[in-house]
C-alpha cells in the first residue's frame, strides 16, 4: 500500500506531484507504464484554472489522494471460460503488448497516471472470441484505493459488465472490444460521503459495439470521466447517463466520444435531477476526426433543477474535422413542466406524487429500471 503517511492533506497539484515523485511507489505490477505516469505527473497535475476542472475543485480530491484506505481485495466475479488474472500474472504480458495505450491518452487523464503509480489492485479480464452467455462479469464496490480493471472482449464475443462503481479513490475500467464484439456496461453508483474519481476508457474495433448505462447518485465529490474511441469502421456506441443529486452532493461527468474511423454511430443521452444545494456538471464532447466519413453522432442532455440553490453546468461540445457527417446536440436546463404537474393533479395525484412520477419518467428517458434507474429513487 502506497503513501501511508501521517498527513494526507496535500491540497495543491504541485505539492501532490512532488510527493508522488518522491515516495517509493507500490512494487506491484502496473498495467500502465510507470515511467510514462511519472512523466505526466512531472509535467504537472491539473489545477482548478484549466478547462477540464472548471467546475470541480480538484484540490479536494488531492486532499484524499494519499489517504490510506482498507486494502481489501478487488471483487470480481466472472463466468467460467472468462479469464480473470492479476496484473502480476505473466499471462497479462501479451495483453500489454497488444492493447496498452489504445483506450486513452495518459496525457489527457493525469489522474490515471496517479492511479498508475499508486495502484493497489489490477486485474485483467479476457472474454474469449465468440463467447456468448447470459452471465455477466461483476465488479463490486469498495475495495482498495487505486484500482485498475482491464477487459478485453474477443472477436464476435458478447458480454455484460455489471459494475458497482463506488468506494475507491480512483478506479480505471479499460475495455478493448475486438472486431464484432459487444460490451454492455451497467454502471451504478450509490450515494457516498467520499471524494472519488474514475475513468472508463473504451476502444472499439471494426463493427464493435459498446453500450453504457450509468446511473449515479451523488458523493461529496464524484468525477466520472468516460472516453470512447471508435477506432474501427462501423463501430457503434450508446452512452446513457442519469443522475439524481441531493444535499451538497457534487457530480462531474465528462464524456468524450471520438470518431476516428468511418461509418461510426454514436448516441449520448443524459438526464439529471439536482436538488437542495447539489451541483451537477456535464461535459459531453463529440469529436469527429478528418476521414471519419459517414459518421452519425448525436448528444442530448436535459437537466432539472429542483430547488433554488441547486446548480447545473452543461457543456455539450462538437469538434468536427470531416464534412461528411450527421451530427447534432441539444441541451436544456429548466424545471418540471407545471402543465404536466397540473394534468396529473387533475387526475387525482397529490402534488408530491405527481412530481415524483414526472421525475422518474424523466430519468427513465435515459436509463431503464433494470439498468439501475430504480436505484435513483430518493426517499424524501
Amino acid at each position: 500500500m502506497a503513501g501511508s503517511t501521517a498527513d494526507p492533506a496535500v491540497a495543491t497539484s504541485s505539492a501532490l506531484a512532488r510527493r508522488l515523485l518522491d515516495i517509493e511507489t507500490s512494487d506491484r505490477s502496473s498495467w500502465l507504464d510507470r515511467a510514462a505516469c511519472q512523466a505526466v505527473i512531472a509535467r504537472g497535475l491539473p489545477d482548478t484554472r484549466g478547462e477540464p476542472w472548471k467546475y470541480t475543485n480538484v484540490n479536494r480530491w488531492y486532499d484524499v489522494a494519499l489517504a490510506t484506505h482498507d486494502p481489501a481485495a478487488l471483487g470480481i466475479e466472472a463466468p467460467d471460460d472468462v479469464l480473470v488474472v492479476d496484473f502480476d500474472d505473466p499471462r497479462t504480458r501479451p495483453l500489454t503488448a497488444a492493447h496498452r495505450g489504445k483506450a486513452f491518452d495518459l496525457e489527457e487523464h493525469p489522474l490515471a497516471a496517479v492511479n498508475g503509480l499508486l495502484l493497489d489492485a489490477g486485474m485483467a479480464i479476457v472474454v474469449p472470441d465468440d463467447w456468448h452467455g447470459e452471465a455477466p462479469v461483476r465488479i463490486s464496490d469498495d475495495g482498495p484505493s487505486y484500482q485498475h480493471i482491464l477487459l478485453v472482449v474477443g472477436r464476435g464475443a458478447s458480454i455484460t459488465l455489471v459494475e458497482e462503481a463506488c468506494g475507491f479513490t480512483h478506479r480505471i475500467v479499460e475495455a478493448v472490444v475486438e472486431p464484432g464484439g459487444q460490451l454492455r456496461h451497467l454502471r451504478r453508483q450509490r450515494p457516498t460521503p467520499r471524494r472519488e474519481c474514475s475513468l472508463v476508457a473504451v476502444h472499439l474495433d471494426r463493427d464493435a459495439r459498446y453500450e453504457l448505462a450509468q446511473s449515479s447518485r451523488g458523493a461529496e465529490l464524484r468525477r466520472n470521466d468516460v472516453v470512447v474511441t471508435l477506432a474501427g469502421s462501423g463501430a457503434q456506441v450508446t452512452v446513457n447517463g442519469a443522475w439524481r443529486l441531493i444535499d451538497r452532493e457534487h457530480l462531474d461527468t465528462q464524456v468524450a466520444v471520438n470518431h476516428v474511423a468511418p461509418q461510426g454511430f454514436s448516441r449520448q443521452t443524459y438526464r439529471g435531477v439536482v436538488a437542495d444545494r447539489a451541483r451537477a456538471v456535464l461535459n459531453g464532447r463529440i469529436h469527429i476526426a478528418a476521414g471519419a466519413k459517414a459518421t452519425d453522432a448525436a448528444l442530448n442532455t436535459k437537466n432539472l433543477l429542483a430547488t433554488d440553490s441547486a446548480e447545473v453546468y452543461a457543456k455539450p461540445e462538437l469538434e468536427i474535422f470531416e464534412s461528411d457527417v450527421q451530427c447534432s446536440h441539444g441541451a436544456t436546463v429548466g424545471t418540471l413542466d407545471e402543465e404536466a404537474v397540473f394534468y396529473l393533479r387533475s387526475r387525482g395525484l397529490s402534488d408530491k406524487a405527481a412530481r415524483a412520477l414526472l421525475v422518474d419518467g424523466f430519468l427513465r428517458e435515459a436509463i431503464a429500471d433494470d439498468e439501475g434507474a430504480a436505484r435513483l429513487e430518493v426517499v424524501a
Binding site: L305, K315, V333
Partner: protein
C-alpha cells in the same frame, strides 16, 4: 463521364477587393509601449488630466496581465513592443467635410462608403427606392477623420461624434459610462485598449428619441505595423432607439496587424440598441500570411427594465477572430439577441460567440449562430448562457449550426450553460451539415452553375441571421459572402 461538379474547395477562393493602400502622410508614434507612450497619446489628443490617469491605471493593470490562451486559435506570441500605438493622417482634424484630404475621401469612395451628405432631392417620388440616409463616422487608423450629418442629428438631440470630441464636450457622460460595461481589467486586450485607445465613436440618444437615421462607423486600418485600438460607447437613454452599423477593412499586407477594440453599449429603461457589424478585415492569403488579428471586446448592458440590445455580426475577414459580443441582462424583462454569420476560409481561425448573462427577472435571450468553414480554416462557436439566482422566469434559446465545405476545415461548438435557477429555461440546439453533392447536382441540373449554387445554398443557410440586418446591410452581407465564396471553378 462528364466533367461534373468541381471540387468544392476550388469554389472557395480569395478575392479581397478592399486590399489597397492609401498613400497619405501620417503622423505615427514609433513602435513600443510604456507610460510615456500612454501619456503621449493622451497629450496628442489634448485630453484632460482624469483621462490621462484613467489610461495610466489601465496600463498598469495590463502590465500584470497575460494574453488569454483558452481560445481555439494558434498564432505566434505578439511582440507588443514592436507595434506602433498611434498613427493619424497629418494635419489638424478637419472642421468640415470640405477640409478632408481628398485622398481620404477617395479611399472611402473606393470602399463604397458615402462621406457626403447628399440631401434627398425634393419632390422625388416616395416610391422611388431612395437610399436611406446613413450618418457615418470614418475612422482612419487611429483617428476619426469625418463624421457626417452631425447637424441634422443635433436637431434631434442625438450626439454622434468621435470619442475624442466626446471626452472634451461630454465629459460627464464619458466619465460615468466609459469602462462601466467593460471594466479596464476585464481581459488582457480590454486593458490594453483602455490604456492606448486612440479614437472611435460616441453616441448618445436622449430620452424618448428615435434616432432619425442609421448611424455607422467605418473603420479602416491603413498604416503598416500599427495597431488599431478604437473605443466605441453608445448610450441609449430611456425610451430611445438607435440602429448602429459598423464596417471594417484593411489593406493586404504580409504582416499581421492587431485590432483590439472595445465597444460598450448601455440601454436604459425601454431603450433599444441594434448593433450590426459587417467585418471584412483582410483575412490573409491562402498560405495564411498576413491578415488582421481581431481581438475585440464587445459588451452591452441592459441596465433598464424592458431594454433590448441586439447584436448582429457577419464575419468574413481577419486572420484570427476572438470576439464575443455579449449582453448583461440586468433590467427586468430586458432582451438580448445575438445573430451571427462567421465564414472562414484559407487559414483563417475564428473563435467567436456570445455571453448572455441573465441577472434580472424575466430576461430573455436568443442566440442564432451560423458558422461556415472552408479551406484549411477553423471555426469555433463559444457561448455562455448564465442564469443567476435572481433571474426568475428567464429564458434562453440558442441555435448553433455549422456548415462545412471541403474536408480540410474544422467546426467546433462550445456552449457553456450555467444555471442556478429552476425557474429559468435554457434550450440549446446545434447541428453540423455540409453542402451536399445532391444539392449541388439538383442546382446544376436546373442550369445553375456550381459557384452560384454554393453561394445560394450558403445564403439559405444564413437566412435567419440576414433577415435581422438592416436592409442595405443585408444586401451587402449577402454579396460579401458570395465574393468570399467565389473562385476558380475547376
Amino acid at each position: 463521364m462528364p466533367e461534373h461538379a468541381p471540387e468544392l474547395d476550388d469554389l472557395v477562393s480569395q478575392d479581397y477587393a478592399a486590399g489597397f493602400v492609401t498613400d497619405i502622410a501620417a503622423d505615427t508614434l514609433p513602435p513600443g509601449l510604456d507610460e510615456q507612450v500612454v501619456r503621449a497619446i493622451s497629450a496628442k489628443k489634448e485630453e484632460p488630466e482624469w483621462m490621462t490617469e484613467w489610461r495610466l491605471d489601465a496600463f498598469r493593470r495590463w502590465q500584470a496581465m497575460r494574453p488569454p490562451r483558452w481560445a481555439h486559435v494558434s498564432f505566434p506570441d505578439i511582440d507588443f513592443q514592436a507595434i506602433s500605438y498611434f498613427s493619424a493622417p497629418k494635419g489638424d482634424r478637419p472642421k468640415s467635410l470640405d477640409e478632408v484630404d481628398p485622398e481620404l475621401l477617395r479611399t472611402y469612395e473606393k470602399l463604397g462608403i458615402p462621406l457626403h451628405e447628399r440631401a434627398k432631392l425634393a419632390g422625388v417620388d416616395e416610391s422611388e427606392q431612395a437610399v436611406p440616409e446613413v450618418a457615418v463616422d470614418a475612422v482612419f487608423d487611429s483617428v476619426s477623420v469625418a463624421t457626417t450629418f452631425k447637424d441634422k442629428l443635433r436637431e434631434a438631440g442625438v450626439v454622434f461624434c468621435s470619442m475624442s470630441e466626446a471626452i472634451a464636450e461630454h465629459p460627464d457622460l464619458v466619465r460615468r459610462y466609459l469602462g462601466s460595461v467593460v471594466p479596464k481589467p476585464d481581459n488582457f486586450y480590454s486593458a490594453l485598449n483602455s490604456a492606448v485607445f486612440s479614437d472611435g465613436s460616441f453616441v448618445y440618444i436622449p430620452k424618448h428619441t428615435r434616432c432619425p437615421m442609421e448611424l455607422s462607423t467605418y473603420f479602416r486600418i491603413n498604416a503598416e505595423n500599427t495597431g488599431q485600438f478604437e473605443r466605441t460607447l453608445i448610450i441609449a437613454d430611456e425610451g430611445s432607439y438607435v440602429s448602429y452599423l459598423e464596417g471594417c477593412t484593411a489593406p493586404m499586407r504580409d504582416d499581421n496587424q492587431l485590432h483590439a477594440a472595445v465597444v460598450e453599449l448601455v440601454a436604459l429603461d425601454d431603450a433599444e440598441i441594434k448593433y450590426s457589424t459587417v467585418q471584412n478585415w483582410y483575412p490573409g492569403d491562402e498560405q495564411g500570411r498576413g491578415g488582421i488579428y481581431n481581438f475585440v471586446t464587445k459588451r452591452g448592458a441592459c441596465l433598464g427594465a424592458r431594454s433590448k440590445i441586439s447584436w448582429t455580426q457577419v464575419e468574413t475577414g481577419s486572420a484570427i477572430t476572438w470576439k464575443y459580443p455579449s449582453v448583461m441582462l440586468r433590467g427586468a424583462d430586458s432582451v438580448g439577441e445575438f445573430y451571427s454569420v462567421a465564414l472562414t476560409r484559407n487559414r483563417q481561425q475564428a473563435d467567436t460567440g456570445t455571453k448572455m448573462v441573465h441577472i434580472g427577472p424575466r430576461t430573455k435571450s436568443t442566440i442564432v449562430s451560423k458558422g461556415i468553414s472552408a479551406g484549411h480554416s477553423r471555426n469555433s462557436y463559444r457561448g455562455l448562457v448564465r442564469m443567476n439566482p435572481a433571474a426568475a422566469g428567464a429564458r434562453n434559446y440558442t441555435q448553433c449550426d455549422s456548415l462545412l465545405i471541403g474536408d480540410t476545415c474544422g467546426a467546433n461548438t462550445f456552449p457553456y450553460i450555467e444555471s442556478k435557477l429552476p425557474a429559468a429555461v435554457v434550450e440549446h440546439e446545434a447541428t453540423t451539415s455540409k453542402v451536399s453533392d445532391e444539392q449541388l447536382f439538383l442546382c446544376q441540373q436546373r442550369g445553375i452553375d456550381p459557384e452560384k449554387a454554393v453561394a445560394m445554398i450558403v445564403n439559405g443557410f444564413c437566412k435567419d441571421v440576414f433577415r435581422t440586418l438592416p436592409m442595405e446591410f443585408a444586401v451587402e452581407a449577402a454579396k460579401l459572402l458570395e465574393v468570399s465564396l467565389e473562385g476558380a471553378v475547376g
